[in-house]
Amino acid sequence: MEAPETSGSNRPTMLQPTSWCHPANRVHRFFALLLMCFLCFGSYFCYDTPGALADNFKDDSHLNTSQFALLYSIYSWPNVVLCFIGGYLVDRYFGVRLGTVIYMTIVFIGAVIFAFGVYINAFWLMILGRFVFGIGGESLQVVVNNYVVLWFKGKELNMVFGLQLSFSRFGSTVNFWVMEPVYRWVSTYYGGYERLGVTLFLASLTCFVSLICGVILGWMDYRAEKILGRQDEQSNSEPFHLTDIRHFKSVFWLLSVICVAYYLAIFPFIALGKLFFERKFDFLPQEANNVNSMVYLLSAALSPFFGILIDKTGRNMTWVIISIVTTIGAHFMLAFTFFNPYIGVISLGISYSLLASGLWPLVALIVPENQLGTAYGICQAVQNMGLATVIIFAGMIVDKYGYLMLEMFFLGCLFVSLIAAVLIYIIDSANNGVLNMSPSMRESTKSTVTRTDETAHLLDNEDFTDQEETDSRRPSDATQDHMSINPRDTAQAQSDRIRSRYLAQILPNSNNSERE
């Protein structure tokens, strides 16, 4: 899932840096950004078509609730593994450009199969379509993240990831706005399940548009590579085998424990939160939705800033422990008081964004460069698996033992992650504490490493605030520094997306309210 890096040694002279056609030009880059956003638009859009047409699916295709839920879970479950394999394949075989086109094609085919399944009202074909769609969808996200890293690393990377995150919400929102009118228009020409099928065929056109974007982007990237003399470094680096996983340090496994346990206390909570706020705090459904969405809003807004904060201060483990403790406090408040839940949820949102910014770069400090993709893949996969099972489990807890017990479960998870964090802190302190150093300390420990790599970024070095931050990140540890920023954001953005999809599956009601 890692982007190939430039060595920077043979950067050619710029041809016409002022022309907007030049890949180094800011306008040119933002045109590429637009394409990247639309590259994902199709899959985001089609992902939520069943949600937007939920009533029609039930009336026209006569699906019951569990069949309907299967349309979503058939997407999620395979991706517990596939997002990891997809990234690995891109790293080792496809490369970014081909990978994008391949995955986008799979997404498009999946969407068409699904529409066809609805058109002839064959449930198994719908499921197959969603499955194929899912295979492409998550891996597509991984490649697009690679694109983003390739084009924006050392520049507007945080902002771009933020924008991608916003765009994912935008894609499904547009879907909720548009599908209903489209359906009504189609139903003047067709009837029964055929009109639903035709509507979905129209929706799958967005995937086709995305595919075209992917091809254009591929061409632009090819051109940029030629002009800027970017080279694939992959061939030089020693290939990494999956069996090397067993050599990962124990600290890495403790980190994955935090990845799983901490996130279990956030996302299932959001999934089940709406009713909790309604029941315990007597909120109206709309208010409850508002509170519930605070975590996403805050993380979308704050993540880049916390990223900068941690870039400046270092001491990741301290930040991680602080945010876990804050989260425990927030959950305690929600469980054992009747204080306004906004207080609890806002502190939850803040601590969650802080943790996300502090935790993911740690992997880069622990795991060697050529194994990073796999390492992040493992974190992702276990996390997704945890979430997929626990969301069901959490629902059972609520039905059987109530929300207090659910909160107890979340607190239990948080305690586990706190223990893991404290253990990492101790182990790390015993080994001279690389993980918890400030940037200056990191610099002084390894002053021998030259900083030449630092300045050699993929594209040209327009002076931009982000540049400084990346440079001051871990100047000592240049090679790792390269890796640390992009996988963090890659993984984070990706996991956010997966998660928002879980939510859509669990809470069709929240979708309805969005539609209004």
Partner: protein, 390 residues
């Protein structure tokens, strides 16, 4: 708040811990009572007083009467055929209160609020002519339980009202949702409205139970009801509120009568969170004891000025739930009792998780900090002979 709750629980477990010895009797003193007559008299002797309970179905309206008296007071019932005519206590009672479901009210919930209010068109059906048959019955020293099934006397009203009254003389959570707390002083009552026919001219028909509540308090006083929110929904998932109706004496000094319930009812026989719907209580109004009722027989001797009689509705439903006809079933539970209403407490499990959860990380953190400090101290002040060669 939290501490206070714990404290109350602690005190309560002492106060209510005294379990009572119960002696239930079916139709005591009635020679020609058959299967169709049910009057249960349960005498529960404590250490200081005796609680007499009468569960009466003989005159159609389900009635529960509590009498608190000194120890060794006896109650005798005189019958005429299969109807109780006179209740005689050997000593003047200390306190008495009673609850009777005297009417079933059907209301047309045009605005789809769920609850009954005065603007709803409504039709009351007296339960005076209900015919109750007795089902499962347990009568021993450890439990008094009776299942009753009531059929309507009127031709055009089909369906049944099922009731279950259960007295378990110790403090515990009930087996079924909403897991109310029963004590030696309180009886658990389930009411189910099964397959009732709705009036054809009501298209938004719901049913409400009409209660008459009597207590030996001054008749210018008021029953009070309060809603308490608890943090703990462990026993009633998703429901944080508890409603308590208290007689004036109970509000004053905690030794009167109370009714406790959760604002939740169920639309399916198999009670679960997914089949739950709301239960609402209306305001109290002053009223008189229904004519030809066991309540009237019982409270005849009491002074009018010292007898508080009020009524209220309990109604069921949620906006947009498809009204009663959607499931043709509603069941609801409450407890009625004497003394301090029981308060739910955090279960052992919750307390264990919190203490482990807080304890282990703190221990780890402390030991970790000590470890790091000790290590650093050692590094800063290394033994001199090793540093010589630097």
């Amino acid at each position: 708040m939290h501490l206070q709750t714990l404290l109350i629980v602690f005190v309560l477990s002492f106060a209510c811990g005294q379990d009572r010895r119960i002696i239930p009797k079916l139709n005591p003193g009635c020679d020609n009572c058959g299967k169709s007559t049910t009057l249960l008299y349960i005498r529960a002797d404590g250490s200081q007083d005796t609680v007499h309970q009468l569960w009466d179905f003989t005159r159609g309206m389900p009635t529960i009467i509590y009498v608190i008296s000194k120890l060794n007071t006896s109650l005798t019932i005189n019958w005429r055929f299969n109807e109780p005519m006179e209740f005689k206590l050997s000593e003047k009672p200390l306190y008495s209160f009673a609850v009777s479901i005297d009417k079933l009210t059907e209301y047309n919930d045009i605005e789809n609020n769920g609850y009954i209010d005065n603007r709803c068109p409504q039709r009351a059906l007296s339960l005076r002519d209900m015919e109750w048959t007795r089902g499962n019955t347990v009568l021993d020293n450890t439990e008094a339980m009776v299942h009753m099934r009531g059929k309507f006397g009127e031709e055009n009203q089909h369906g049944v009202i099922d009731m279950k009254l259960d007295l378990l003389p110790f403090k515990d959570y009930a087996v079924d949702l909403p897991h109310l707390i029963h004590t030696a002083n309180s009886t658990l009552v389930d009411v189910s409205l099964v397959n009732l026919t709705s009036s054809p001219d009501y298209n938004a028909s719901r049913f409400a139970l009409h209660f008459t509540i009597v207590s030996t308090d001054a008749n210018n006083e008021n029953m009070s009801y309060s809603m308490r929110k608890s943090l703990d929904d462990e026993h009633t998932p998703g429901v944080f509120e508890i409603f308590e109706i208290r007689t004036p004496k109970s509000s004053r000094s905690d030794d009167g009568g109370f009714i406790q319930f959760r604002p939740v009812s169920y639309t399916e026989q198999e009670r679960s969170v997914s089949s739950s719907t709301n239960a609402y209580i209306s305001n109290f109004t002053w009223t008189t004891i229904p004519k030809t009722s066991t309540l009237r027989m019982f409270y005849e001797e009491f002074e009018k000025a010292n007898l508080l009689v009020q009524d209220m509705f309990i109604s069921f439903g949620l906006p947009g739930d498809g009204f009663y006809r959607q499931h043709n079933y509603t069941s609801w539970s409450f407890t009625i009792g004497y003394g301090i209403p029981p308060v739910e407490s955090f279960s052992l499990f919750v307390i264990i998780i919190i203490s482990i959860g807080l304890g282990v990380p703190i221990l780890l953190a402390l030991s970790g900090i000590t470890f790091v400090i000790v290590r650093r101290c050692k590094q800063r002040n290394p033994p001199t002979r090793f540093t010589d060669d630097e």
